[in-house]
Amino acid sequence: MVTTKKGWYVGRKNNNKLNRTLLKVKSDTELKFGLIGLSLLVFVAVFASLLVPFDPYFFGPDVLNKLGENQHILGTNHLGQDIFSMILYGVRTSLMVAVGSALISAVIGILVGGIAGYFGGKIDLVITECINAFMMVPTFFLILLIIALFDSSITNVMIVIGLTTWPSNAKLIRAQALSIRERTYVKSAVAMGETNLQILFKYIIPNGIFPVLANTTIGMSNAILTEAGLSFLGLGDPNVISWGQMIFMGKQYLTSAWWISTFAGIAIVFTVTVFYLLGDGLNHVLDPKHKSRKDA
């Protein structure tokens, strides 16, 4: 990591908060690449319908075309769908799963963990036990079970991933809340007459949210992998195009038409890496320990 000292010092003197943040971002290579990758993904997701050369849902006459054949840059599959277009549409699915499940997981985790850490005592005891119980559950098999039993729509996949991944967020924010509630600014907020809920939402959560942000971003890459895994097992949403499904369907043609699975696999690796870099970069930038080490 090339965190320049200059970045921090200039940052401290500069009154502009935005500027300071930008300087921090610039100084972390992982975060920088993560952000570039994310912008690319978001751009593709938003403009996918304009960028695709073919309708990915169209079952054309060009079946199992090779790379470049009939203007299909990355070839076609056994149903005649254009692989390149499918990959682009797959970004939407992946991002949707990532963001949707991350939101659910973050909101539940922050609320549950924040309440446990701030209120402490018996509430904390009960919640911590629940969190531990949840953490012992083999998540993927639980997801598998639920999706197999219920409808495998993309919304369900999102919700189930969100509902099974919040405990790690809850643990992180609980630890934060435990220390923040001892801070003077929380005591001074009590002295100024703020209620417990106001303190929880105004002081505890905003000041303790950073590790959750980083964790959630890494959680997004896991969500993408989980969705791909489900699709690969044939439990994905049949109505949307997803990379996992492409790998699943391409599996039987792996020797004759390797491109069906391979590019979807590369897309997954790329997206997961982007979110991982983002999460790790955020961790570096927001972690005070890291900061002081650089400052010293």
Binding site: R183, Y185, K187, A191, G193, E194, N207
Partner: protein, 330 residues
């Protein structure tokens, strides 16, 4: 002499913390060990009076302050302000209690959330308590208050974040903010101990002036005896969670009766006394207040201790009008 009714009546306040059982035998016997950070403290304060609370660090001063400000619920006891039980008041109308009782903290660098500007920090309590009719009126009030506290230009300062201000500026803001509600009872927990020596006097003067202006009653917590003497009307000396001596500030400084107070004052070179006294050496560190007693808590370190001192905790006796001491040997 003092027939006036006390304005603030601290009645048997105790703050005990359960200590995590350490040894196996304790776990088996389910013996609860208590850290008696504050133990049965009773004090009376007249309206507008400043009471200094002194004692070594760890003797429970801050805990007493937190209990008085009801940042924590005391294990026992109550505080009456103008004959109103604060225990009831906080249940019935906690905002009113917060407006009546305010606290200034020791660490100004941590008193405000790092995420808000000074403007937001000052506006929030005003809004919360419905002071001022409009946003503009509240903002004007903040500006006026900052300027009255010598923080100029106020508009400029209000745009700043806490980490962009100095400790002195922050502590001024903290004091000014606690004065927003015209509190009747103010607790100041070592308000200048973390500040540069050069700014201490101004901050203390500001606190005292504002309190006098509002005729507020103040508990001033400090381990700086010279400073406490300078600003306080009365002084209470604390040792291991108990008040061991109380009286007029000059009486305590010039004629301390409790051996602990004598030792404490004789070890303060910066103080000019009526007579020159020898430094009294006190052996050892103050013990932690885990199940202390049964005798006088200070007895193990006391240079005057007799067998008697270890038997039971001494009663409090009034030596002269308004001078209270808890010592078996007096």
């Amino acid at each position: 002499m003092e027939e006036k009714k006390p304005f603030v009546k601290i009645n048997n306040i105790s703050m005990w913390y359960p200590q995590k059982s350490k040894s196996l035998s304790q776990v088996i016997k389910r013996e609860k060990q208590w850290v008696k950070a504050v133990d049965n403290v009773s004090l009376e304060l007249q309206k507008g009076e400043i009471l200094g609370v002194i004692g070594e660090s760890g003797c429970g001063k801050s805990t007493l302050g937190r209990a008085l400000a009801r940042l924590e619920h005391p294990t026992q006891g109550d505080v009456f302000i103008d004959d109103v039980s604060t225990q009831n008041l906080i249940k019935q109308d906690q905002r009113k209690f917060r407006r009546t009782v305010q606290i200034v903290f020791q660490n100004p660098f941590d008193t405000f959330t790092p995420r808000d500007t000074i403007e937001k920090i000052l506006m929030r309590p005003l809004k919360l308590h419905g002071i001022g009719k409009s946003e503009e009126e509240r903002k004007q009030k903040c500006i006026d208050i900052l300027e009255s506290g010598g923080l100029k230009p106020a508009e400029e300062i209000m745009k700043r974040y806490p980490h962009e201000l100095s400790g002195g500026q922050l502590q001024r803001i903290s004091i000014l903010r606690s004065m927003l509600f015209n509190p009747q009872f103010i607790i100041a927990d070592e308000p200048v101990s973390m500040l540069d020596v050069s700014v201490r006097a101004e901050i203390i003067n500001m606190l005292v002036t504002l309190s006098r202006e509002k005729d507020a009653t103040v508990v001033f917590i400090s381990h700086d005896i010279a400073l406490t003497r300078y600003i306080s009307d009365k002084i209470a000396v604390m040792y291991l969670g108990k008040i061991i001596e109380y009286g007029d500030s000059e009486t305590i400084i010039n004629r301390p009766q409790h051996p602990y107070t004598q030792a404490l004052i004789s070890n303060t070179p910066s103080i000019d006394l009526d007579e020159i006294r020898e430094t009294i050496k006190v052996e050892g560190e103050p013990p932690t207040p885990v199940n202390p007693g049964p005798g006088c808590y200070f007895a193990p370190r006391c240079f005057k201790a007799t067998k008697n001192c270890f038997k039971h905790y001494p009663d409090t006796v009034e030596l002269e009008s308004g001078h209270l001491v808890s010592c078996s040997e007096i």
